[in-house]
């Protein structure tokens, strides 16, 4: 049997040793074998491709920077604007009186002020007392406080809904794909039925029914968005599992005697779940938007809770004088818009990497 070497120059007898050496080095470059970098080997080829796609697109870099800023705000919320301290719920926006007239920007903060004045505030505004940086809503809720602490609400509600919908979708979709036949048929018809109601309207109803039963909080909206939000993932994972099931390497695994559960968890699911995972994580932005919309319509977070959509909903009562009270819409609206934009910019780049139809278009 032939000796195996890195190259085939062993069979080239007419070459001088010097040339053989040169060939060895050249061959490493010329040969079709593609070498993977350390990072790629560590995180896996597909994930690497996604990451590389993210850093290759200027738009997604902007998105990542934006998102990073939001993470900073969420993490450091107590240092940006402290709560009122004590045992009081920090997510309850402090209200400066009960006047129905919104207070303008930079007006004095009289009641329920934050417990301390952080250093950055003194440096930027040269003041030792809090003012309403972005004004208040009707009812005296401080908009700046609501936006900063609302960042946490956005991340947590988005993450919770994605995790819930993804789990349901993956389980239901996998069952449909794995068992096939009538099980698949029944499950997919149920998916169809859930999809015949418009997403937002359906969520609106469910939240409205749930509120009298379990009280007004974030929970009814989260449940409602979950119940009507899992179908997309179920369809996606089902399609991918069905495709992977037919691949030759699954047949090959059967041939070498791998047991069925191992085939499912080692060969099928890891190769099928990746697009679903990535798409789902990119959906956080859109879900935060839907959650905010429910809050805006009045079936989301309770009044006074630090949530962007809830703050904007105050503006509904001031339609004809919005030009005067613009800060009630513009600041929380921009926070929401930039948050969703960040996710969408990243999501767009990721979809380009994942979309097999666009793959190869260089």
């Amino acid at each position: 049997m032939k000796k195996v070497t890195g190259t085939i120059s062993a069979t080239q007898k007419n070459l001088s040793d010097e040339s053989k050496e040169k060939l060895e080095t050249l061959y490493a470059d010329v040969v079709a074998t593609r070498k993977m970098g350390k990072l790629e080997r560590f995180i896996g080829p597909e994930f690497y491709r996604v990451i590389r796609g993210l850093f290759n697109t200027p738009a997604s870099i902007v998105g990542m920077i934006l998102l990073f800023l939001f993470v900073l705000v969420a993490v450091f919320a107590p240092f940006i604007i402290p709560s009122r301290g004590g045992t009081r719920d920090p997510y309850q926006i402090p209200r400066d009186g009960f006047s129905s007239i919104p207070k303008p920007m930079m007006s004095d903060w009289v009641k329920q002020t934050p417990e301390s004045v952080p250093g950055w505030y003194k440096i930027v505004f040269h003041k030792d007392e809090w003012v309403h940086l972005m004004g208040t809503t009707s009812g005296g809720y401080d908009i700046f406080y609501g936006i900063v602490w609302g960042t946490r609400t956005a991340f947590s509600s988005g993450l919770i809904i994605v995790l819930l919908t993804l789990s349901i979708g993956v389980i239901v979709g996998s069952i449909a794909a794995y068992y096939g036949g009538q099980v698949d048929n029944v499950i997919m018809r149920i998916v169809d039925i859930f999809m015949t109601l418009p997403f937002l309207l359906a969520a609106l109803i469910l939240a409205a029914v749930l509120i009298p039963r379990i009280g007004r909080s974030n929970v009814p909206a989260i449940i409602a968005l979950t119940v009507f939000g899992w179908m997309g993932y179920a369809r996606l994972i089902r399609g991918d599992i069905l495709a992977v099931k037919e691949r030759d390497y699954v047949l090959a695994a059967r041939v070498i005697g791998v047991k069925d559960p191992t085939i499912l968890f080692r060969h099928i699911i890891p190769n099928a779940i990746f697009p679903t995972l990535v798409i789902a994580s990119m959906d956080i932005g859109g879900l935060v938007l839907s959650f905010a919309a429910l809050s805006f319509l009045g079936v989301g977070a309770e009044v006074g809770y630090a949530d962007w959509g809830q703050i904007i909903s105050f503006a509904r009562d001031w339609i004809s004088t919005l030009s005067e009270y613009w800060f009630m819409v513009v600041f929380p609206g921009m926070a929401l818009m930039l948050f969703v934009l960040a996710w969408n910019l990243i999501g767009d780049a990721v979809r380009d990497v994942l979309d097999p139809r666009l793959r190869g278009s260089i």
Partner: protein
């Protein structure tokens, strides 16, 4: 080749039938069947290479997969070393597959892209606990050496390799369980011309080294002629002719075999100039609705009334030369 005893038979396929239902209409009722394999019988002897050749859609790949019970055959039996695979329980079958392995056509699709070479080639060793877990890596390196791959590549992923190299990895995986029979399902048709010979030579070397038995499925007649001891020709779900290599190519008896052989171009203009081609009319009929009687009669130049009525018998015309044609002598 002399007459063989039954003890020499490694694999016996008896009247293997594989029909796939066609579902149509409002209620997805089964309206017919694709008769991919429609009554195929042959033996494979220890140590030989049986070539199974035919055009696309003739059922050769389905035959290979039904032998391994990757599809559940509609009817018929597959005996491996005397044991009927079609009636085996799932777990017994899994254990029996240890001795029958397969090499797949598409080296890009048959390797799990998320596993390294060590994992891919090591998996069968792990499943059957052939060697101790800590020795798997060493064994994988030996296997790579065996298929002429650099053992240093052991931690690489499949997409870091070219088609020919991937096919070697597939061969190494098949060899890991030290099987007796390997079903090679078009192992070279996806490879570049200059790489095909490398894989063929490797398969031949391994055969002589480990006394392997091959069922070599291919559409490339020249390659089948090169590697096989005996050749079976399939057309539309049935075997029309089976003979030892020399006989089949020198004295083909079935009109289809004759046409097939004449259609293969030979890389020599001098020879080509003198050759007379048999050009078959039309296309292969649909396996969902095969012609009555002899399957080939619609394209056959010597077909007569009897061919439409009576399915030709599978008979041994000369010693070891089987054919299914009314007029073969």
């Amino acid at each position: 080749m002399n007459k063989k005893n039954t003890s020499d038979i490694c694999l016996r396929v008896e009247d293997l039938v594989m029909h796939f239902p066609i579902k149509r209409g409002v209620f997805q009722k089964t309206v017919g069947h694709v008769r991919a394999v429609d009554g195929v019988s042959f033996d494979v002897y220890y140590g030989e290479t049986l070539g199974l050749v035919g055009e696309s859609g003739c059922g050769k790949t389905t035959t290979g997969r039904s032998i391994l019970q990757l599809y559940e055959p509609t009817a018929g039996h597959v005996y491996f070393e005397g044991n009927d695979l079609t009636t085996m329980k799932k777990e017994d079958l899994r254990l029996a597959r240890k001795d029958i392995q397969m090499i797949f056509q598409d080296p890009y699709a048959s390797l799990n892209p998320r596993m390294t070479i060590a994992q891919i080639v090591g998996e069968p060793l792990k499943v059957f606990s052939i060697v101790k877990p800590e020795e798997i890596r060493e064994k994988v390196k030996d296997l790579l050496q065996l298929v002429l791959l650099n053992p240093a590549f052991i931690d690489r992923y499949p997409h870091e390799f070219s088609g020919g190299q991937r096919q070697r990895i597939g061969v190494a995986r098949a060899l890991a369980l030290e099987p007796k029979l390997i079903i090679c399902d078009e192992p070279i048709s996806a490879l570049d011309v200059s790489v095909q010979a490398q894989v063929i030579n490797l398969l031949e070397e391994l055969q002589s080294k480990f006394n392997l038995t091959y069922l070599f499925i291919a559409h490339d007649l020249s390659m089948v002629k090169h590697i096989s001891d005996r050749v079976a020709v399939m057309y539309l779900g049935v075997i029309v002719e089976l003979a030892i290599n020399k006989d089949l190519f020198a004295y083909p008896l079935h009109p289809y075999t004759q046409a097939l052989i004449s259609a293969v171009p030979i890389p020599d203009p001098v020879v080509e100039e003198k050759r007379r081609r048999i050009i078959l009319e039309g296309d292969v009929p649909s396996p969902a609705d095969p012609p009555s009687g002899c399957r080939f009669r619609t394209r056959c130049s010597i077909a007569q009334d009897i061919c439409a009525k009576v399915q030709p018998k599978w008979r041994e015309v000369k010693s070891g030369h089987f054919v299914a044609c009314h007029f073969a002598k």
